[in-house]
Amino acid sequence: MAQPWLFLTRKIKLVLLPLISAILTAVYVEMDKLLLTYFIPDEFAFTFISLWLGTISLIGLMLIMITPLKRGTYLGEYLDPNFRRIIIPKGGLLYWIIIAALAGSVSTFTYFQIISVSNPALILPFSKLMIVYLIVLESMSDRDMPTIIEVQSIILILTGVFLMAAGDVAFNPITIGVVLGPYNISGVIFTIAVRNAKKRIYMGERVDSINIRLWVLTLNSLFTTIIFAPFIFTPSSIGYITSLTPLLVLLIIIDMMTATFASITYIRALAVAKMSIVNSILAFTVILGIAFTLIGDMLIPGGFGTINLTGIYGMLTFTGVVMITVGIFTIATTQVKGYLLIYLEKNAGYILQTVMKIRGITRISAVSGVNMLIAELKIRSLGKAYRTIVTELEKIDGIKKVNTLTSIKEWEKI
């Protein structure tokens, strides 16, 4: 029996993980809206209850995930192949988890404020402007310039997203401002922080997304409670907090577990691809948001808000769906990974550090056997591979020969 991470290739994971996250996100956003409208119409009380019930239920999930299966494997490995045990974050990992939790506090708080006054299907598209912020940040990093295809795909997705948002002209400008400002900025900081946490190594293994979610959510609950205490602990909010029924507790736990699984797949996806690409694929949430709002509206009229799909609005929505779908599938086909076998002259060990500075090389190893370095290359177009190999490696003295092994199919423990 193959290990769970071998079931899917890297490219399929690149699309599938954000798509699963998108589906789960659309589900929990609609559930939040329903719970806020009918059960706890106080966003401060709802934020507090959701976060803490989410944290408690996640601790329960972790206890299930550490169940050992045969041959030293754990149930949690099916959620994230890097999962082994509950870890106590320290050093750099703890730093990024704290940053993610603080950004998460602002993001969570503004999110509940937004959906308490707006229809999620109409407001979700504006949260996708975060992709633009991420592209700008990634472009500022010298090693990570986006390719033309990536820029085209992202523009396609964003245009599709805003076409879909054109279905309602009665936007609340303050809500849009909150989405474009604090919500998106905290979302960007959160994304960078969890990605950096996921890239860290803990006891020889990459940190798993389940542990990251556990610690980020726990600290997020703590920070939100402390920072927003004056809003949360009012007589009205305390009334809601102390009068929870078992059914309501169950509904909120289901809601938060959905959010947890959405977060775990999102964090895993961030280890596979660039932040802007993951969030572009996640734009599928916008399509699902409209579908779920329509289904929900049939079950509980008005419970999820309404969407205008008649005439020109219907056309715009359909065009938006096509553009987002095409953009997502284009973006998924651009990544290139490979290995460079760099044969060295005698006494050329100093080259290790020089080669490491070349863009696109993520790992370099001096190995036993022959006088050779093995470099792992992760780039997003073959054109960039040419620049790496021809224009940069060839300049280095002491290299005898380079063999390029381009990966055509790949399974990776991510």
Partner: protein
């Protein structure tokens, strides 16, 4: 933790079957089917050299269709800023 790259040359027509066999083995971190002088690159992590010996000389060697196995143990490794601990 000992890391190594294992490069395999396969006989034509058996790639899919060989990959299915490789997927069942322990200690493997990634499997890449590549173009160039070798056909498959494996990255592996083991705790002891004996585990690497078992993997290469006992498990991989017994898979029909693998013509050549080259093992390169990592003596020194550098990660890009993004991948660093």
């Amino acid at each position: 933790m000992i890391k190594a790259y294992i490069m395999l040359n396969l006989s034509l027509g058996n790639t899919k079957k060989i990959l299915e066999e490789i997927k069942k083995l322990e200690y493997i971190d990634s499997i890449s089917v590549v173009t160039g002088p070798v056909d498959v690159v494996l990255t592996v992590s083991v705790n002891r050299l004996e585990e690497l010996y078992n993997l290469t000389y006992e498990k991989l060697s017994s898979i029909q269709g693998i013509n050549n196995i080259s093992t390169y143990i990592v003596e020194k490794e550098m990660l890009s800023e993004e991948e660093q601990e």
